[in-house]
């Protein structure tokens, strides 16, 4: 017995020794066909479950025994397996020729890219990863054909996203689906580094699976997860400087005086009849000569405001710092994966005191149970954002309006402000200083828990319950002030709190089958979404101290006021989808979704949204393979589908009265129902009810039907690839809240299904990528898209609500973005020209001549016509990226072509009469005078008798531009640091919004940002990324 034991012990020891001797470290490099090292390839030992990943040089090392099998897997590459031999080095080359094997998330399921039959754009997340704009969507600008993104430069500004143009008269925002959870909020609360992939579903056949709310397109975002064998710590940090590069040139104190003098003498009125400036001039209106502008020592009677020469744009702006940090820790095993990430983003804006801070945290985990048959997981993210509440649109507008002669501060240290003869506008520096203590706190928790159970092979049941709650809390202090002749002795504290809540429950059952050349999968599902909003706010005035630590509601003594409201809605949906492919060649897909919304009348709550699409992969056909072998891929696609839209008030079907009491009506009518019937003048008033809306229980879903045809192609072994898509999108039964006959009176507002419009467009994408030699790789990607919109149906009585004259000229058949007005036909240069022109009240030499379009000899409202379209003809983007050894370099150009913008600044930069109490732009110095009769800027005047502020082509300028959006250079430090077990290390330098080429006809600074929105900064960034 003992012998036996010893024998076995020896045997085991030998075995152990043997295994010690045999298990060893296998090293290797993974490359693609072009011998590029591949980073992030999962390498696993099939027999032991050991796993690792390749580093940035494509290198890996793993413990394995000869005879065991190594598996190399990588998204988009064919699985590669190799048996470990006696050699300690195992190199692998993965077949990436088919990025078509890339898996794309298309709605409750994943599909291979080559099987797609809809218009789906896949964003190259790597290109945008390091661009620190605070909102991932902003970085997509110009990168996806057919997607127009407009944004300003605020530290935390939301962006407007339009997929395939304006498709409806109401809400045009797309639907976002983050880790399977639908939401209408944008991506600004997401940590850019958490994003694994972004896909844009543009056409109906792909978006219909999201049925309700998918009519404006769908943006699908998937966040990163750990994978088996994946263990990594990533750290990214960057610091940026931001610069204000689009300051408008305004008049200085002396120039403003000269402009006034010129305007007055043009009018033959005494320039010294003026409350600020005095003039030494020859007093000859026929040949006026200005000797000197006399600037007073003080601009106010009380002598507290000493004449200054303030450049307000300089006073309100700063160079600012933007910092961004991200840490993520991923760990994956066969049994479960977890990813934790944390980010901090802090952007000080280029307007002083503006600042947006964002903290995000994420935990994505999953566990595999029951031998892989059950998977339980969750995605959870929390976001906190803090924004300083500076009224930036006012601040930038005021920097143009306030006279340079106004000092920032009085001689006593108080606020400078408007003096006699100036408009009642605030000192913008005061607006900044008096609001800098106020900030909004925003929070959002977003995530789901899910379980996937494999009932039988290929039959998967999935359930997911998600919450998406977000809210705001803000306590703001309004300070008292005196600033020039403006003052408000009262102060106030306001506290507000609100939240939006969404609960989303999804259940799907999917089945996939593959037999011979047939491949099919099926999905059925159900989704229920409940939303709720609750909010309230309180205000008190009469605070003894004006600091935020003191300013709580309890501290206020007078004028207590509060408000609160709530609303809720629900959606209930069922859907099914089937995909079929034969021999990888013929592809068919069909979808049906049935959506119910609480917003519609009982009879019309449910809508059906079908879709159908088909594809033909010609490149798989023998005749192509033989005759056109240059094609590595060629696919025709066609899709048709219908989507719904329910963006109306939650209770639109009901006729409702509300106790309004009184409203906070500054510069607007008070809709209140309270009245001081007793004549008491004060105290609680009796109050009634006001009709606030007429119900419409016939309301039904707005529908968008869309045809899409497309070609995907790849040539020369995928060196050159691209796609072309053409679509026609018709939206009908558009939900409108039309203006109505006045006699209907209060609460005539009533939602109805009434309008139709149509968008047609074409989108191109072309990409060329080549490994030129061992060290040099170049990729060029360009895209362009164009669409045209027209309104095809509108109830006759609401035509006047849209650009047009309501009678013979109306918006039907025209883009909804049309501009309607007069045609400015140059400037009258002589009395003869004036006399020869039609009757135009106020016409004179130096004034704008308007075209007599109807030729009736009188310039009046009948001479207006369509003079522009604010939507661009073309959107385009062009990206170049070059890798050379350890360097990478890229630049990205983006532009729009053919849009008309209304240059609202022109009222100030070209006129002295449209806002006589404002500062003007320096173009006024080049205005028409008899001596300067070649000018295109009308003569300065104090009185706009010619009504030159009217909407006319004078204000319409080209909005076309080309911007160098981003340029960056990076260096891979990993080879230097590999002894420190660094898997990846890169430093980079980049700049965003580097330069703009604009049309000469645009006379302000940035056609992308023609109003008073937050200026778009030039951003320069130094950053690094390391992984361990």
């Amino acid at each position: 017995m003992m012998k036996k034991v010893i024998f076995y012990c020896c045997l085991m020891l030998m075995a152990a020794l043997n295994s010690v001797a045999q298990t060893r470290t296998v090293n290797g490099t993974v490359t693609d066909q072009q011998n590029n090292p591949m980073e992030g390839v999962s390498v696993g030992v099939a027999e032991t479950g050991k796993a690792t990943q390749t580093d940035a040089k494509g290198k890996f090392s793993i413990q394995a025994e000869p005879g065991q099998t190594l598996k190399f897997s990588y998204v988009g590459a064919k699985l590669y397996t190799v048996r470990v031999g006696t050699n300690a080095t195992v190199n692998a080359q993965l077949d990436l020729t088919n990025s078509l094997d890339d898996v794309v998330v298309t709605g409750y399921q994943k599909e291979r890219k080559k099987d797609l039959t809809g218009a789906v754009a896949v964003v190259n997340v790597k290109d945008i990863k390091d661009i620190p704009l605070g909102n991932p969507v902003k970085a997509l600008q110009g990168r996806v054909p057919g997607v127009q993104i407009t944004a300003d430069g605020s530290p935390n500004g939301a962006a407007s996203v339009r997929i395939r143009g304006i498709g409806t008269l109401g809400n045009n925002d797309p639907l976002y689906v983050i880790d399977g959870i639908p939401t209408k909020r944008g991506l600004q609360e997401l940590n850019q580094n958490d994003i694994e992939s972004i896909q844009v579903l543009k056409d109906a056949s792909s978006a219909t699976i999201y049925g309700s709310r998918a009519a404006n397109g769908v943006i699908i975002v998937t966040t990163k997860r750990a994978k088996a064998g994946y263990s990594r710590i990533d750290f990214d940090a960057s610091t940026s400087l931001q610069f204000y590069t689009s300051k408008l040139k305004t008049l200085n104190a002396e120039e403003r005086g000269r402009a006034y003098w010129q305007a007055a003498v043009n009018d033959r009125s005494d320039p010294n009849f003026n409350q600020i400036y005095q003039y030494d001039w020859n007093n000859n209106f026929d040949n006026p000569m200005l000797n000197r502008v006399i600037i007073p020592e003080f601009i106010d009677g009380a002598k507290t405001m000493r004449s200054a020469n303030t450049d307000w744009f300089d006073e309100i702006s700063q160079q600012s710092i933007l910092q961004s940090y991200n840490l993520s820790i991923a760990n994956g095993t066969e049994k479960g994966n977890s990813l934790f990430s944390f980010s901090y983003y802090d952007s000080k804006g280029i307007i002083k005191e503006t600042r947006g801070k964002k903290l995000t945290g994420r935990v994505n985990t999953d566990y595999t149970l029951l031998n892989g048959k059950l998977k339980i997981g969750e995605n959870f993210s929390g976001t906190y954002m803090k924004d300083v509440l500076i009224p930036t649109a006012d601040v930038t507008g005021l920097s143009q309006i306030v006279f340079s002669i106004v000092p920032v501060y009085t001689i006593n240290g108080g606020w400078g402000g408007p003096a006699a003869g100036m408009a009642d506008r605030q000192n913008p520096v005061r607006l900044i200083e008096d609001n800098k203590q106020n900030y909004n706190n925003f929070w959002r928790v977003f995530g789901n828990a899910y379980a996937e159970l494999q009932l039988i092979p290929n039959l998967l049941l999935r359930t997911s319950y998600a919450i998406d709650y977000n809210g705001n809390y803000a306590r703001t202090l309004r300070k008292s002030y005196t600033s020039g002749f403006l003052s408000d002795p009262s102060n106030a504290v306001n506290t507000l709190s609100n939240y939006d809540g969404n609960r989303i429950w999804q259940n799907t059952l999917s089945y996939a089958i593959k037999k011979d050349k047939h491949q099919a999968d099926f999905l059925i599902g159900q989704e229920q979404i409940n939303t709720i909003y609750q909010g309230f706010s309180g205000t008190r005035q009469g605070l003894a101290l004006e600091n935020l630590d003191y300013a709580y509601l309890d501290a206020g003594s007078t004028l207590k006021d509060n408000a609160g409201s709530g609303t809720s809605s629900a959606l209930l949906s069922y859907f099914a989808k089937a995909n079929y492919s034969y021999n990888d060649r013929y592809l068919l897909s069909a979808t049906i979704r049935r959506d119910g919304s609480s917003r519609f009348g009982k009879e019309n709550q449910f809508g059906y949204f079908p879709a159908f699409s088909a594809g033909w992969r010609l490149s798989e056909e023998k005749f192509i393979k033989e005759t056109l072998p240059v094609f590595s891929d060629l696919k025709f696609r066609y899709g048709w589908g219908k989507n719904g839209n329910q963006e109306i008030a939650n209770n639109a079907t009901y006729t409702l009265y509300s106790a309004v009491y009184g409203t906070n009506a500054v510069g607007n009518y008070d809709a209140g129902t309270a009245y001081d019937i007793s004549g008491a003048n004060t105290g609680q008033l009796p109050s009634g009810f006001a009709l606030i809306q007429q119900g419409n229980n016939t309301l039904r879903w707005e529908e968008t039907a869309q045809h899409n045809v497309g070609i995907d192609f790849a040539l020369f072994k995928n060196e050159l690839s691209g796609s072309v898509d053409y679509f026609i999108k018709k939206t009908s039964d558009i939900l409108i809240n039309p203006a109505y006959l006045a006699v209907i009176g209060e609460g005539g507002s009533r939602f109805a299904n009434g309008a139709s419009m149509q968008n047609k467009g074409i989108e191109f994408l072309l990409s060329w990528s080549k490994q030129l030699n061992k060290d040099l790789n170049i990729t060029l990607t360009g895209n362009a898209s164009s669409y045209s919109n027209k309104v095809t149906k509108l109830p006759a009585e609401i035509l006047t609500s849209y650009p047009g004259n309501g009678t013979d000229k109306n918006i039907l058949g025209r883009p909804v973005t049309s501009i309607f007005g007069y045609v400015a036909d140059g400037i009258f240069k002589s009395v003869e020209e004036v006399n020869n022109h039609a009757a135009q009240p106020g016409k004179d030499v130096g004034r704008i001549r308007y075209k007599d379009l109807n030729g009736d000899g009188t310039i009046d409202a009948l001479d207006r016509d369509y003079i522009g379209n604010s939507a661009p003809n073309w959107l385009y983007g062009f990206n170049t990226s070059i890798n050379y050894k350890n360097f990478d370099f890229s630049f990205f150009l983006q532009g729009v072509q053919g849009s008309d913008v209304t240059n609202t600044y022109k009222g100030l930069t070209d006129f002295a009469s449209l806002a006589p109490g404002a500062n003007f732009g320096n173009r006024t110095l080049q205005a028409f005078t008899p001596q300067n009769s070649g000018s295109t800027i009308p003569a300065l005047t104090l009185v706009d008798r010619n009504n030159e502020g009217r909407t006319s082509t004078y204000f319409i300028e080209s909005g076309s531009y080309l911007k160098l959006r981003n340029i960056q250079i990076g260096y891979n430090l990993q080879p230097v640091l590999k002894n420190l077990k660094v898997q990846r290390a890169r430093i980079y330098l980049q700049a965003s919004n580097v330069f703009t080429i604009k049309d000469k006809s645009y006379t302000a600074t940035d056609p992308e940002n023609p109003g008073n929105a937050y200026p778009i900064p030039l951003i320069t960034t130094l950053g690094m990324s390391v992984s361990f």
Partner: protein, 565 residues
Amino acid sequence: MAAGSLFCASCSKVLDEQPQGVVSSEELNTPENAEKMVIAAYSALGNDYWQTPYSSMWAYGSIRSGDAYKGGDGPGDVGDFNAFETFNLNRVDLANADATWYRLYLAIGRVNDALTRMNNLTAEQFALRETRQAELRFLRGHFYFLLKILFKRVPYIDESIPKTDYEKISNTDLTDEQLWDKITADFRFAADKLPESQSDRGRSTKFAAKAYLAKALLYQAYIQDDRNNVTSISQPKLTEVLSLTDEVINSGKYSLSADFANNFLSRFENGPESVFAIQYSKDDGTPNGRSDNGHSLNYPMNVEYGCCGFHAPSQNLVNAFKTSAAGLPLFDSYNAVNTAAGDDFVTNSFDPRLDHSVAIPGHPYKYRPSFIFQVSWTRAPQVYGRFMSMKETVLPDDPAFKRFPPFMSSSKNWDIIRYADVLLFKAEALIELGRFNDAVPVINSVRTRAANSTSLLIKTDGSSTSNYRIDTYKPGINCVWTQTYAREALRFERRMEFAMEGYRFFDLVRWGIAAEYLNSYFAVEKSRASHLRDAFFKKNRDEYLPVPLNQINFSKGLYKQNTGW
């Protein structure tokens, strides 16, 4: 679907979402809630704002009358008002006229809603039913009166018309005469059913209704043809005006305030002269008070106020306050020489109502000797001159003052009819009835009060702000009192008494003299105010605003445009 039903046991309930924080129509039919709907109707009296000031009508009746310029920053600042002021820039598609039309129908909608509920109650259910019905009809009469004088032909909708038929009512269904009859019918009902006094000061009364009925009948008496020409004056209507005004006068409920100023000071509101007023309030639980938002642009541009310098008295108006050596108006010569600044107000003599109505540089503002109005308080003196309107404003430390930057306002009531108006309605009826001699004491009562209203018009040293000289008409002594002279005296008296109060233009149209009067005003005034250089009143058109194009479109052409437009 199978999976769906598996997971959703009670799906039918998922989509049941009830509106929150609101009430349905049925819940408002109780007497208690119907009474509240009456309050909602009253509240519409003051629910205008600076862009549609129908509470005082200054933008329609004052700046179109030659008494005032628009004011503000320049012609483009609230440009629609500039179009009104200059007439020939007026258009059918201006947003302001459309908004005013809309807001008045909104008010009428509130009245009709409340009236429907009141009609459905019985006297047993609600004892005050008839009084409230009468109050509501008074309000409706008021709102239609405003629509009538602004637009002439408007669709008439009362509570008998179901809402579904509103779109079938044209603005020309009723003749001009019939529309007036509808308006006077509401006032007649109110005059008949209302009590002589009400405990709530804001409610209409029997004599308020009689006064308003007299006003409406006086307008109706000047019969216009389809082209807005006044063709004749109805003697029976004038007779009725006379008896109604006598009833009001003899009721003993009203009298002229001791001082003209009292009508424009918050501490005297609801005084003996106030026949019907909009009751404004503040510190009433609303953010800005239920205050006089319609005048919120009309304060000076100084540190005590700050905005917005609208409603500037014209040079012509200031000149008109000059008086002769006899203390009477200078009917023909007042406008020959400007009274503009400094000594002009000492070397000439004036009706004291000048310094009640017009803020003049160097003169105390709003009766405060130490608070001197400066040129710098005006917004754009190079365009709109150096005067400002004052009747609608209050001092910055007045308890009624309410600031909601950038605008400011007050809780001071605004009189829709004051007793002086009733007296001058009577005088006008007497003159047009040929009984012009009987009008002398009536007009003189108003002048006497004006003469006695100088005690607040003083400087810090106690001396008079301007040189005042005003006397009553003494036929045979200081004047020759013929019907023509009496008519001129009455019309001038109305101008002095109600300057800047918002109805002057409608007087001119009523009398049928708007075109001649305004074009001769423009002929001279354009040399003083360059923004008027192209102003022109087109006779047989500009007497009324056009029916807003929007409304013609919304009615699918059912509404017909006014003559000349």
